[in-house]
Every structure is written in C-alpha cells, then in structure tokens.
C-alpha cells in the first residue's frame, strides 16, 4: 500500500501504517486522517503532535493508558479521559492517532 501526496508516494503497511517515520508530513497526516474518516481539528493535532513528541523521546508509541495519563498531564484534566480521546478518534485513540502521526502500530492495540 501507499499514500499519494502532491505526486509523491509514501509506502505503508497493509493496515495503513507509514513505513518510513521520517517521511511524514502534515499533508500526509491529513490524507491518512481522511482515510480514517476524521476531520483534523486543533484538538486532533494536539494529540497527534503529542504522540510524535512521545515517540521521538521514548522510541515507542505509548499504550492507551499512558496516553490518557500523559494527555491529562500535558493538556489538562478535561482532556485526559478515555471519553475525550475516543470522541476524537472513535476507532481507538492510540491506533488511529498513531496511524495519522505516521508511527508504527502500538502494541496495546487500541
């Protein structure tokens, strides 16, 4: 599989996760989000950018429990809940948001 953005091709695995993390850009994120039926808002970007920062620091994507806790710490208590994250990413916050962020599929599977 591959994504096409501005005539450039970005290879992904069979589930749509980007192969080369380094090739990620925001237009590509928008396209992946469209495939996931998500309209990217500032709130979505907050989570996606957080995931990229987290991955950059720790070299793995966070488990969903860690994501909830970390979002609470960083973005405030009202956003640090499963409900909030599932509203943004209905098919699983870690799974969908990681895909949009261009990260590998998290092991925690939601």
């Amino acid at each position: 599989m591959a994504y096409e953005v501005n005539g450039k091709s970005f290879e992904s695995d069979e589930e749509g996760y980007l192969i080369d993390i380094g090739s990620w850009n925001e237009e590509l994120a928008d396209l992946i989000a469209k495939d996931e039926e998500i309209d990217m808002t500032d709130e979505h970007w907050e989570v996606v950018n957080f995931l990229r920062e987290y991955y950059n620091e720790y070299q793995i994507a966070p488990a969903v429990r860690v994501l909830v806790k970390a979002v609470k710490k960083k973005l405030g208590a009202d956003k640090g809940s499963n409900k909030y994250l599932y509203e943004l990413f209905p098919y699983g916050p870690a799974k969908q948001a990681c895909k949009i962020a261009g990260l590998p599929k998290p092991t925690g599977c939601v």
């Binding site: 720790y58 070299q59 925690g108």
Partner: protein, 142 residues
C-alpha cells in the same frame, strides 16, 4: 458521540514482580522482551523491581549508538520506566511500588558509576539484592 464513559478496569490482583536483566542490550532479544514485559506490568499497575545485573547494566548505559548493528536504539525507552516510577511515587491513589536497581558489583566490575545510566537507579549490593529478591512473588529473568 458516545455518551457512556469507556472505563478500563485495571483494579484487581496486584503482585510483586521482579524483572532481572542480565544480558547486553543488543545481539539477543532478551533485553527488549523484558522491557516490553515491564511496560505491560505498568499497564496493569503491578509492583515491580527492575534489576540490572551482569552485562544487563549496559542496557541503561548512556551514549548508545546502534547504527552499526542495524537495531533500534531502545535505551531511550527506559525513560518510560523512570516516568512510571515517578507517577507511582507521586500518585497517592495508585498502589504501585516501583524500584529501579543496579547491582553494585556488576556496575563496579565494568568501571561504571550511577552517573553513567540514562535513568536514576538505586545501587544495591548483591547480598542485599538477594534479600529483596526473596520478597518477590514473581521473578522474571532475561
């Protein structure tokens, strides 16, 4: 939008786990597998002693460069353990005790000090470590 809050029920049995890391970080899969297991035990809010013995002390040594062995440098991932420990220590509602321990003899035999590690550790002599090990309910070594 879903009206019901999705809850993850993590309340349940809590046991004392010890993870004994004894091997160098690369060349075998042991270090990475144990690290994964430690992160899973965090998800279930279990007690954990993460111990580094023998060449295992190299797993958390600063300044790793894995370009030549073509493996991901996962030494940064140990930062999550440090963060989990911090959370466990700070959060009064959370019944989770974590310790990160380096065996003194192994560290000194390799000319290392506590400052050489990517995370803060307790340096403990092997005799004392044996006593801590005896208190555990589950010991997993790799």
């Amino acid at each position: 939008m879903a009206e019901t809050e999705i809850e993850f029920d993590t309340a349940g049995i809590t046991k004392k786990f010890m993870y004994v890391n004894r091997k160098a970080p690369y060349g075998t899969i042991y270090a990475l597998e144990v690290l994964e297991a430690v992160l899973i035990s965090a998800a279930f809010e279990q007690h954990a002693c993460i111990v580094f013995i023998d060449d295992g002390v190299y797993q958390i040594k600063k300044g790793q460069n894995t370009d030549a062995v073509n493996m991901k440098n996962f030494s940064k991932t140990y930062g999550i353990i440090a963060m989990e420990k911090e959370d466990a220590d700070e959060d009064e509602d959370m019944d989770m005790v974590w310790r990160i321990i380096v065996e003194k003899e192994s560290m000194e035999a390799r000319g290392l000090t506590a400052d050489d590690f990517v995370i803060d550790v307790e340096v403990i002599a092997s005799t004392e470590l044996a006593a801590i090990m005896a208190e555990q309910e589950i010991v997993i070594s790799g």
